[in-house]
């Protein structure tokens, strides 16, 4: 059972009540089905209203729920067979980024993504999905390998940001991310990315210069995590909720800003409520999009990719 957030308490309370009624009915033999149906109906309404009306900050909290599918969950749900490939051939295998090759409906594919842990121990191993330069260089290697063999690249973005630390700086975090941005711009294969949870800054973008950008309904994507923005703008990281509000970081905002090509609907209450359904939705989207993208000659695809990023940003000129 995934953990629940504070604002989900009214739903939890109703569910408890329904369970109690079921138990009571079993014990006493009194028919409470009418009551139960009424409560269930109310719970459905309440859930819909609650999740429709989430504040940006509540969405950020949902995007961080540990029960959400991770990149490896998506990979194994999408591919019939998969082989993970490790290492940057340079310094280290970064467990915060995973990637490899597999078959989807018999077709070769390369998949890469940030990998968060399921529990504290795994999160420490995975560095909470915050990649070092080694992770971006592994991704680069796998993307260039995909290009060499003409298979598409799908990436999953789920990181609070690239790891900010001495070890990362020493090995050139900036260079590693920068190189990925440029190389991804020119990869001669179709590419797409899904922001599945957190899209934190350059650490997210380092896997995100693709033909299509899809953002899951409750995911966020921005120049910086809201708490960090608050710390910089108002010198108070506790004002994260305010930053989340102001910065337009939710999936719908991203669609309006022309960044996301599509918002991918999540199960009611978030991917963690029904991971299998979420994975199936994403799998379908991968197949549909690759079918669509491969209809274009590669030169046109690259020109469209150029235009996509060329057009980002608004300004006036006097």
């Amino acid at each position: 059972m995934p953990t629940e957030l504070d604002f989900e308490k009214p739903i939890r309370d109703l569910r408890t009540k329904i369970t109690e009624l079921h138990e009571l009915m079993a014990k006493s033999g009194v028919d409470l089905n009418g009551e139960i149906a009424k409560l269930e109906h109310r719970m459905d309404d309440l859930s819909r209203d609650l999740y429709e009306g989430l504040t940006p900050w509540q969405r950020v909290q949902l995007a961080r729920q540990p029960g959400r599918p991770t990149t490896l969950d998506y990979i194994h749900g999408i591919c019939s067979e998969f082989m993970e490939l490790h290492g940057d051939r340079n310094f280290r295998d970064d467990p915060a980024v995973v990637g490899g090759i597999g078959l989807v409906e018999g077709k070769p594919i390369t998949i890469i993504g940030h990998q968060k842990g399921r529990d504290t121990k795994e999160n420490i191993h995975r560095n909470f999905g915050m990649a070092h330069p080694d992770g971006y260089r592994k991704a680069l290697r796998l993307m260039q390998q995909a290009e060499k063999f003409g298979r598409p690249v799908v990436t999953f973005i789920d990181t609070a940001g690239a790891y900010p630390g001495m070890s990362a700086e020493e090995r050139g975090q900036s260079e590693a991310i920068a190189r990925n941005l440029r190389v991804m711009a020119g990869l001669k294969v179709p590419t797409l990315c899904f922001v599945t949870g957190e899209g934190g800054s350059g650490g997210a973008l380092g896997l995100g210069v693709t033909d299509r950008i899809f953002v899951l309904e409750y995911a966020w994507y921005s120049v910086i995590a809201p708490e960090s923005a608050a710390a910089i703008l108002w010198k108070d990281s506790a004002q994260g909720p305010r930053a989340a509000e102001t910065m337009k970081i939710s999936a719908r905002d991203l669609k309006e800003l022309g960044i996301a090509d599509d918002v991918i609907a999540e199960p009611l209450g978030g991917a963690q409520k029904n991971p299998q359904q979420m994975i199936a939705t994403v799998r379908k989207k991968v197949i549909e999009t690759l079918d669509e993208l491969t209809r274009l000659p590669i030169a046109e695809l690259l020109a469209a990719r150029y235009d996509k990023y060329r057009d980002m940003g608004t300004f006036v000129e006097r």
């Binding site: 490790h86 290492g87 077709k107 592994k138 179709p190 491969t294």
Partner: protein, 292 residues
Amino acid sequence: MLKELFHKKRHYATLGQPATRPVPASDIPKGLVDKCKSCGAIVIAKELKKHLFTCPHCGYHFAVDAPSRVELTLDEGSFEEYDAGVTSVDPLSFPGYPDKVKKAQKDTGLLEAVVTGRGTLDTEPVIIGVMDPRFIMGSMGAAAGEKLTRAMERAAETATPMVLFTASGGARMQEGVLSLMQMAKTSVALERMHEAGVLFVTVITNPTTGGVSASFASLGDIILAEPGALFGFAGRRVIEQTIRQKLPDDFQTSEFVLEHGMVDQVVNRKALRDQLSLILRVHARKGWTSAD
């Protein structure tokens, strides 16, 4: 070179630690029974073969000679050998070298340290190369370099993927700079293969060091390694004696180099064929490919 490697007598338990030191050629099972170098168990040869030359008790990977490796890897009866007649000469008139080669030939029944050829793996066509650790430590001279280069050229020309099992102490010292240049020669051939977009997979087996590790062994599009295999450039003793640095026990093992980003996966020999099969199938299939 490997013979000189320092064997420290252990006075403590080595629980769970894979055998990391290079094995002498005599480690290749040849009698009716063999003793596991890791756990000391006595294993019947037939049993050992059934377990693909891994210890049934502790999983230790025994060395495999080239003919057995071909047999373990390819579809039965599919192997056609290339260039079986290519063999070494003695370009530097190096004392004792011709005798050394003759002895290796007699002991192994092979003319050189590398066997190459083509065949199928789960019906996928593949060009295969296998280095034999029994043949002067699998060292690479001009003959081995030539055989590998020809196999790579055929792979590039026919767009057939190549899988190469490495096992080598490095370049063959008795052929001097000519053996050094086999690193360059094979790498030049690999660049052609790379340009042609043909898959090259290496499987690192124990030991893969020196010039072989610093050329084609490290140039695989995908690099797999068997558990506990030694994979590195300068051996432990060279490092410890030249820069006097103490090295960790698992230094340069497959597991160590995996963590350090140098290989894609450490694969147990029992899973190796299936993994190679998947790699070949992924690269043989046409799928979401854009038009030119």
